[in-house]
C-alpha cells in the first residue's frame, strides 16, 4: 500500500482513527477504570452524568463508564475469539476444498451450504443450549457458526489462485501441497480475507451483543455491552442514559470496523 493512496482513502482514515481511539480506551480500561466495574454503591443508584461518574450509575450504583470499558473488553474478546475460530477453520476447510476439489470438496461444501443456510444467531442459540451460557461457550458457539462464511471466501480464492503461474512454477520447483497452500497461495488471499475478517468482527460484536441481550450470552456479574443493554431496558423510563451509553459504544465499535473494511476493499 502506498501512503498517497491511503491519504485519499477517507473511509480507511476515519475507520482507523475511530477504531484506534476505541481500542486505546479499552486497552486503558484493562489497567485502570475509575471504579471497580462490579462494586455497588447504594447511595449512587441511578446517579446522573457528572464529573464523578462520566456516564452516571446503574440500578446498583455501579459506575457505567467503568462497566462500559470492561464490557467492551469482554465483547471484543468474544468477537476476537469468534473470528479466530472462524478464520482458522475457515482457512483449513476452504484451502483443502478449494485446492483439491473432488469428492472432499463436494461433501464439505454441502455441509457448509447447509450450515450457511442457517441464520448464525439461531445456530449459535442451538450451540448455547448444548453448551450452556457463559463467555467461552459463546465464543465456541459463534465461532462454529462463523466458519462457513470464511470457508466459502477462502475456497473461491484458492480456486482462483491454484491455476496461476506462480503456483505452477512453485510446483515445478517441487514444493509440497501444504507449502503451496499455506506459503504461496494463502498470502495472496490476504486482502480479501482481511476485509472479510473486519466484517466478521462486526457481525461477531453484533451477535454477542444480541445473545447477551437475550440473557444467554455472558453471565453476570461480568459486564458485556449486550448484557448491560438488556439490564438497562428495565430502567428505560427512569434512566435512559443507562441504555444509551452501551448502545453508542456498540455503534462506534461497529462503525469503526465497518469503515476500515470499506477502506481495505477500495485498496
Amino acid at each position: 500500500m502506498n501512503w498517497k493512496k491511503i491519504r485519499k482513502n477517507k473511509n480507511f482514515i476515519a475507520g482507523s482513527i475511530l477504531t484506534g481511539i476505541m481500542l486505546l480506551l479499552i486497552l486503558a480500561g484493562c489497567f485502570y477504570t475509575p471504579y471497580n466495574p462490579n462494586t455497588m454503591d447504594p447511595s449512587a443508584k441511578f446517579a446522573g452524568v457528572s464529573l464523578k461518574h462520566l456516564m452516571g450509575c446503574d440500578n446498583f450504583g455501579r459506575d457505567i463508564f467503568s462497566r462500559v470499558l470492561s464490557g467492551s473488553r469482554t465483547t471484543l474478546i468474544v468477537a476476537a475469539g469468534t473470528v479466530l475460530i472462524g478464520v482458522v477453520f475457515g482457512i483449513l476447510i476452504g484451502a483443502l476444498t478449494g485446492y483439491y476439489g473432488g469428492v472432499l470438496d463436494e461433501v464439505l461444501m454441502r455441509i457448509n451450504d447447509a450450515v450457511f443456510a442457517f441464520p448464525s444467531i439461531l445456530l449459535a442459540l442451538l450451540f448455547i443450549s448444548l453448551l450452556g451460557s457463559g463467555k467461552y461457550h459463546v465464543i465456541i458457539a459463534l465461532g462454529i457458526a462463523f466458519v462457513p462464511s470464511f470457508a466459502r471466501i477462502v475456497r473461491s480464492e484458492f480456486i482462483r489462485n491454484k491455476n496461476m503461474d506462480y503456483v505452477k512454477s512453485a510446483k515445478l520447483q517441487g514444493a509440497g501441497d501444504f507449502r503451496i497452500m499455506f506459503v504461496h497461495i494463502l498470502p495472496n488471499t490476504m486482502t480479501v480475507l482481511l476485509s472479510a475478517i473486519m466484517i466478521g468482527f462486526n457481525n461477531a460484536v453484533l451477535a454477542e451483543a444480541g445473545m447477551s441481550f437475550l440473557g444467554i450470552g455472558v453471565q453476570p456479574p461480568d459486564a458485556s455491552l449486550g448484557r448491560m443493554l438488556s439490564e438497562a431496558q428495565s430502567f428505560l423510563f427512569s434512566a435512559p442514559m443507562y441504555a444509551l451509553f452501551p448502545g453508542l459504544t456498540i455503534i462506534l465499535l461497529v462503525l469503526g470496523f465497518g469503515l476500515l473494511s470499506d477502506g481495505l476493499k477500495n485498496e
Partner: protein, 504 residues
C-alpha cells in the same frame, strides 16, 4: 412496473401507521360487560391440573378456578366450600365431610361423592413415586358412606389435617385435566395463549357469592419495565408485586396497596458443609447482618423483619421477639469467627435464582455486610431450573437467598422441612432437640400445647442460627382506581372474585 407496486406498498404502510396511531388514542372499549386485565410476571408454563401444577405463579391463578372441601379465607381461617360441614372425631383421626347441595362443576355436572373420592385418592396415589400432596401419605382410606358424605380416615391423628382439605375437587370424568381445567371455583377457564395470556370468565352457577367481574384476562408481562408503561397506558388494570420504586412512581394515578408476600426470605445455609456446620460461624453471619438496612436499600424500608422460619400472617405461631436474637455487632461476629477457627474470615458462594430480583438485590447487600467481618461472599446467579436441581434437590450449594412460603395454613408447612429426615430439608439441618419438639407439636391434639411446641421449634431455629433470617418481603399491588376490593391472603394466592368495579 415498480412504481405501481411501490405506491401500493406505501399506501399499505401509511394505513398501518394510521391504525397504529389510532389504536393508542382510544384504548378502552365500551364497558357494557365488566372486565379486568391483570398483569402477571410469569406465564403458566405448567400443568393446569391443580394437583400437578407446581409453580407458585400457576397456583395463585388457579386459586380462582378450584376449591377444596374447605377453603382458606383472607384471615387465615378455613371455611366450608364444596363440603357444607365437617366433623373431626377420634382426636383428629377421622374427618367426616357433608357435601354441599347444588355445587356444580364448570361443565355443568354436579359434584358427587365419587368426584371427591377420586380427587383425594388421586392426590394420595403413590404409584407415581409419591403422593401428589405429600401430607396425604397419612391417609388410611377415603370412603363414601352415602351420596352426601365422605369420610377420610388417617393413619395417625393430625389435628391440622383439615388445612390439606383445601386440595381441589375435580370431576372424575375430565379426560384432559392438564390443559382443560374444570373446577368448582368462581371463575371458569376460557383460553390461554402461551407467553401471552390466560383468560377466565365468571362461573354463573357458582354455589356461593358470585364473582363481581365477568371477564378476567391474565396478561403475561415478562419485561419488568413495561409493567409501569402497561399500567399507565391502560393495557393492564392491576399488577400484584410491583417493586417499591414502581409503587412510588404509580402512587398518584393508581391505588397502591401494601401487604406482605408471606414468605420467609433468608440466607439459607447448607448446614452440612464447612464452615456452616459450626454454629458459631452461622451465628457470626447473623451478627453481621442488619435486615433493616437490607429493607432500606432494596425496598425503601418496607418489609417485615423475621427472626425465624415463621411470618406474621400465621398470627398465633409468630414470635416477634425472635427478631432480637441477633443485633448487628461486628466485634461479636469476629469473636465468634475467631473462636471457630476463622480469625481472618473465609469466603463462600451465595447461589441466587436469577429470575427474582428482590433476592438478587438482597444478596448484593449481604455481600457488603459480610465484608465488614472479613467474610467474602460471591454471588452466583443460576437459572431457576438449575436452582431446583442443584440447590433444592441435590443440595449441592453453600448458601442461597430465596423465600420459602407455606403451602397450607399449618405450622408444619413451614417447620417440617427442618426435621432431620424431611425430604425437602434442603439445608441439611439436623438437630435432635428440634426433631423432638416438632414431633411433639404434631402429636399434640390440644391447640395451646401445639402452639407451645411450634414456638419451641422456632426458637431453636433462631438460637441455633440455622439460617440467616432476613424478612417477609413487602408486596405492592397496583390497582386501577376504577376497581376496588383487593384482599391479601396469608397464602400465595390472588383472589379475583372479590374485586369489583367502583361503579358496581
Amino acid at each position: 412496473m415498480k412504481k405501481g407496486a411501490a405506491k401500493w406498498l406505501l399506501a399499505f404502510m401509511l394505513t398501518t401507521l394510521a391504525v397504529a396511531l389510532g389504536g393508542c388514542a382510544g384504548d378502552k372499549e365500551g364497558e357494557s360487560s365488566s372486565q379486568i386485565t391483570i398483569g402477571i410476571p410469569q406465564d403458566l408454563e405448567d400443568s393446569l391440573d391443580p394437583h400437578k401444577a407446581v409453580a407458585a405463579g400457576t397456583k395463585e391463578v388457579l386459586f380462582n378456578l378450584f376449591e377444596g372441601l374447605v377453603k382458606p379465607t383472607s384471615d387465615g381461617d378455613l371455611i366450608p366450600a364444596v363440603a357444607s360441614a365437617y366433623e373431626e372425631s377420634e382426636g383428629g383421626k377421622v374427618y367426616t365431610f357433608t357435601l354441599r347441595d347444588g355445587v356444580k362443576f364448570h361443565d355443568g355436572s354436579p359434584v358427587t361423592a365419587e368426584d371427591v373420592k377420586f380427587s383425594l385418592d388421586k392426590c394420595a396415589d403413590t404409584s407415581n413415586g409419591g403422593p401428589l400432596v405429600p401430607a396425604f401419605s397419612n391417609i388410611e382410606s377415603v370412603t363414601i358412606t352415602d351420596d352426601h358424605t365422605v369420610v377420610v380416615t388417617l393413619k395417625e391423628a393430625d389435628t391440622e389435617f383439615l388445612a390439606y382439605m383445601t386440595t381441589a375437587i375435580i370431576p372424575a370424568a375430565n379426560e384432559n385435566p392438564d390443559t382443560n381445567p374444570i373446577g368448582t371455583g368462581p371463575y371458569k377457564y376460557v383460553s390461554r395463549s402461551p407467553q401471552e395470556n390466560f383468560v377466565v370468565e365468571r362461573f354463573d352457577d357458582y354455589w356461593g357469592e358470585k364473582a363481581n367481574i365477568e371477564h378476567v384476562t391474565f396478561k403475561i408481562c415478562a419485561n419488568a419495565d413495561s409493567i409501569v408503561m402497561n399500567l399507565e397506558g391502560g393495557s393492564i388494570d392491576m399488577f400484584a408485586r410491583v417493586t417499591a420504586t414502581q409503587a412510588a412512581e404509580l402512587s398518584d394515578k393508581f391505588d397502591v396497596l401494601e401487604g406482605t408476600m408471606n414468605l420467609v426470605q433468608a440466607l439459607y445455609l447448607n448446614n452440612a458443609v464447612e464452615p456452616f456446620d459450626d454454629v458459631r460461624v452461622r451465628q457470626a453471619l447473623c451478627y453481621a447482618v442488619n435486615p433493616q438496612e437490607i429493607m432500606d436499600i432494596i425496598s425503601d424500608g418496607k418489609g417485615t423483619e423475621l427472626g425465624s422460619s415463621m411470618f406474621p400472617a400465621f398470627g398465633k405461631y409468630y414470635m416477634e421477639e425472635l427478631n432480637d436474637t441477633y443485633q448487628q455487632n461486628f466485634d461479636k461476629a469476629k469473636e465468634l469467627l475467631a473462636d471457630a477457627g476463622y480469625p481472618d474470615g473465609f469466603s463462600f458462594t451465595i447461589t441466587v435464582p436469577s429470575n427474582y430480583q428482590p433476592h438478587i438485590d438482597t444478596a448484593q447487600v449481604l455481600v457488603e455486610q459480610f465484608a465488614n467481618i472479613g467474610v467474602t461472599a460471591n454471588i452466583q446467579l443460576v437459572e431457576w431450573d438449575s436452582w431446583l436441581s442443584d440447590v433444592y434437590t441435590d443440595r449441592n450449594f453453600e448458601s442461597t437467598v430465596v423465600g420459602v412460603d407455606a403451602s397450607s395454613l399449618t405450622g408444619a408447612a413451614l417447620l417440617q422441612r427442618f426435621t432431620s429426615t424431611a425430604s425437602n430439608n434442603f439445608i441439611n439441618y439436623s438437630n435432635a432437640a428440634y426433631d423432638e419438639a416438632f414431633a411433639n407439636a404434631l402429636a399434640s391434639t390440644d391447640d395451646a400445647e401445639k402452639t407451645k411446641y411450634y414456638k419451641e421449634c422456632e426458637t431453636i431455629l433462631a438460637t441455633d442460627a440455622a439460617n440467616v433470617y432476613i424478612q417477609d418481603l413487602p408486596e405492592f399491588v397496583a390497582l386501577n382506581k376504577n376497581y376496588t376490593g383487593y384482599e391479601f391472603y396469608p397464602l400465595y394466592v390472588q383472589d379475583i372474585a372479590k374485586l369489583k368495579l367502583v361503579s358496581q
